[in-house]
Symmetry: C2
Subunit: 186 residues, 2 copies
C-alpha cells in the first residue's frame, strides 16, 4: 500500500488552485440548472396563463391572455431564449469541469452570460413594470387597474416573475464565479 503514490500520481495531480477551479466549475453547473428551471418555468407559467370572465355580452367575451400585452410577450420570448441558452451552456460547463484549465471557453461563457443577463433583466423588469400597473393602475394617466376583473390572471403573471428574477440573480452569481475562476489561473 505504501508504494501507491507513484500510481496515484496521475489521478491526484490536481494542484490546490486546479481543485478550486474544478469546484467552481461544478457550482457553475448546478447554478445553471437552477437558472434553467427558473426561466423555463417563468416562460411556461406566463405563456399558458389566460382567464375568461364568467360573463359576456353578445359580441365580446372578456378574456385576458399574456399576448394582449406586448411587454409580456417579450417576457416570454426573453425567458425562452435564456433558458435555451442555459441548456446549451451546460455542455460548455461540463467541458470546464473536465478540463479545469480551459480559458477561452470560460471567457466565452462570461460574454454570453452577460448578454443573457441583459436580456433577462430587461424582460423581467419590463414585465414587472406592467404587472405593477395592472395591479395599481395610474390615476394621473387614467390607466385603471385590470386586476380587479382578472384576478387569477394577475396572480399568475405576478407569480411567473419570480422564476425570472431567480434567473437574474443566478446569472449575476455565474458571472462573478467566472471572474474569480479566470483570475485563479495558474
Amino acid at each position: 500500500m505504501k508504494s501507491g503514490p507513484i500510481e496515484l500520481g496521475e489521478s491526484k495531480s490536481l494542484s490546490p488552485k486546479a481543485g478550486v477551479r474544478r469546484g467552481v466549475s461544478i457550482l457553475d453547473f448546478i447554478l445553471r440548472i437552477l437558472a434553467f428551471i427558473g426561466t423555463l418555468g417563468s416562460a411556461i407559467a406566463m405563456a399558458t396563463t389566460n382567464e375568461t370572465l364568467p360573463f359576456s355580452t353578445q359580441f365580446i367575451r372578456f378574456r385576458a391572455e399574456y399576448d394582449d400585452l406586448l411587454t409580456l410577450t417579450f417576457f416570454v420570448a426573453a425567458n425562452g431564449v435564456v433558458s435555451a441558452y442555459l441548456l446549451f451552456s451546460l455542455s460548455i460547463s461540463i467541458f470546464n469541469i473536465v478540463r479545469s484549465n480551459a480559458q477561452s471557453s470560460r471567457i466565452l461563457l462570461v460574454i454570453l452570460d452577460t448578454a443573457m443577463l441583459g436580456l433577462l433583466t430587461a424582460g423581467a423588469s419590463a414585465a414587472a413594470a406592467i404587472v405593477y400597473l395592472a395591479h395599481n393602475g395610474n390615476a394621473r394617466a387614467n390607466w385603471f387597474p385590470i386586476c380587479q376583473q382578472f384576478n387569477s390572471f394577475c396572480e399568475r403573471i405576478s407569480g411567473s416573475l419570480i422564476g425570472s428574477f431567480i434567473g437574474v440573480a443566478v446569472l449575476i452569481l455565474l458571472i462573478l464565479l467566472s471572474a474569480v475562476a479566470l483570475s485563479r489561473r495558474k
Copy 2:
C-alpha cells in the same frame, strides 16, 4: 547610446501582456466616462421634464411630470445611482492603469459593474415598457395613450432612454474587458 538598455530597463520593463492590460485599463477609463455622461444625462433629462397643458378647468391643471409614474421615478433613481457609482469607479480605474498588475481591484470592479448592469437594465427597460404604453396605450386593458395630449413630455421621456441604454451597452463592454484583462494575468 548603445549602453542605454540598462538604464532604460526600468521604464521599459512592461512585458507585452502588461502593455495589453494597461491599454485595456485606459479603454476601461474612457468607457466609464462615456457611460457616466450617458446615465447622468438620462437622469437629468428625465427628472427635469414636465409639461403643463395650455388649458385648465377651474379645479384641475393638466400637468405631467416624471414622478406621476412610479416606474419613471425608479428610472431616475437607477440612473442616479449608476452614474454616482461610475464617478466613484473612475478612481479604481485610474489605480488599475497605474498598477496594471492589480488583480483584486479588477475583481471588485467586475462584481460592482455586474450589479450596476442589473440595476440600470432594470430601470431602463421598465421605463421603456411604460414609455411604449404612453405612446401606444393598450386597447385590451383600456389604457389610453397619453402622448396625444402630452406631446413634448413624451418626446422628452423617450429621448432620455437613449443615454440609459448607451450606459447598459458600455457596462456590458466593461465587464467583457475586465474578464479579458483578468484572464491575461501573467
